[in-house]
Symmetry: C3
């Protein structure tokens, strides 16, 4: 993370340097991707979609490996970041407050924090201090479309 | 939804036109149904109770069918709406910000969004623009009293 | 609770009278234990750690008994309280707003509210009126490190 955090670089530049870009935000007909209440921006649960495709399906600890799960967590976080950037008018103004990471898990699986760490690291790599957040990681029975990971955030304009 | 959203009708009138009414709010001795912090009103998780009875039990994808689950999601949302109306002093002043929908699910079940959609549709049918919300739907192992659905909301006075 | 709520006693004194003390807060390298947004303090999910040890592992309804689960819920709540006290500058200023209680559960288990009640009771015993909160209890497939309980809170300075 040391090299990435070069002072003066924008969040968008850091993202590019990581070989990433903000995905296009998917819309739902039933709910909105974010809702603002005073300074709080509530972001709807995001799945690891990319270009309209869900990047994985299954249960971590059974048919989804740790490294795959971590990659999916990063993608879901990236989608949440895209919604947040939309909401506040640019990635450089996004400050993350709280992240809830849901991991589809077997009853025996206990490494939800390792999966969530991948998302937490991404946020700090891209946003620096603005990416630091309170976090909760839990293992759930299953997620929409059998996604292995789902991420919900509260953020604000930094 | 077109007909229901007739301009000038109140939320209470729309609810009545749907053949529904706000249920009486159940109290717990251990916690409160809502707590306010600045403009944010946090509503405790609501189960699909009606007249003191839990309307269903079981796991969606196993012993609870989709249509039954959707009906239960609507009832849980209605209970949350009753708490919200209590909190802000009337249904017409309720604005929903965020909804978390928990669906008791088998590991193979992936249609939590379809269950949650029933609750989202209800909110918009009753409250119009004030009913639009950020949403997260997840599948959990089990819920209190083996309820198939539980709904938590953050709302505000619109 | 009557005797404990003696007027004029501080929250710290009540905690001591219960034979409890605020645990040392564990830090993570990946996220922060709390993040403040206006008056809202979001507290990261807390496990039932004590002196660096997780006090239990397993699934409630299978290999963790109710009384053990209730004790773990109290410990997780105590850890969240320690974070909150840190955040607002002392236990007497902590006001709890919302609590989310995750209980690692079998699909058949339906007593998540009984587990969560132990945490709710602790908060009111220690903080009095400031401890009253909106609550959601759910049963999840599994939790980090196979903890049977995890607790997340939103609080504020009272």
């Amino acid at each position: 993370m040391t090299e990435i955090h070069t002072r003066g670089r924008s969040a968008a530049e850091r993202l590019r340097a990581m070989g990433l870009s903000l995905p296009e935000v998917r819309e739902s007909s039933k709910y909105v991707n974010h809702r603002t209440l005073d300074a709080s921006i509530y972001i709807a649960g995001q799945l690891p979609y990319q270009d309209g495709w869900l990047l994985g399906q299954g249960t971590v600890g059974m048919d989804v490996e740790m490294e795959a799960a971590r990659g999916l967590a990063r993608h879901a976080a990236l989608n949440a970041l895209a919604v947040a950037a939309d909401a506040v008018g640019g990635l450089d103004r996004v400050r993350i407050v709280q992240m809830l990471v849901f991991v589809a898990s077997t009853p025996e699986f206990g490494q939800q924090a390792d999966v969530a760490d991948a998302a937490s690291e991404l946020l700090v790599e891209v946003l620096g201090e603005n990416g630091r957040h309170a976090r909760t990681a839990i293992g759930v029975a299953s997620l929409p479309l059998n996604s292995p990971v789902e991420i919900q955030m509260v953020c604000t304009a930094g």
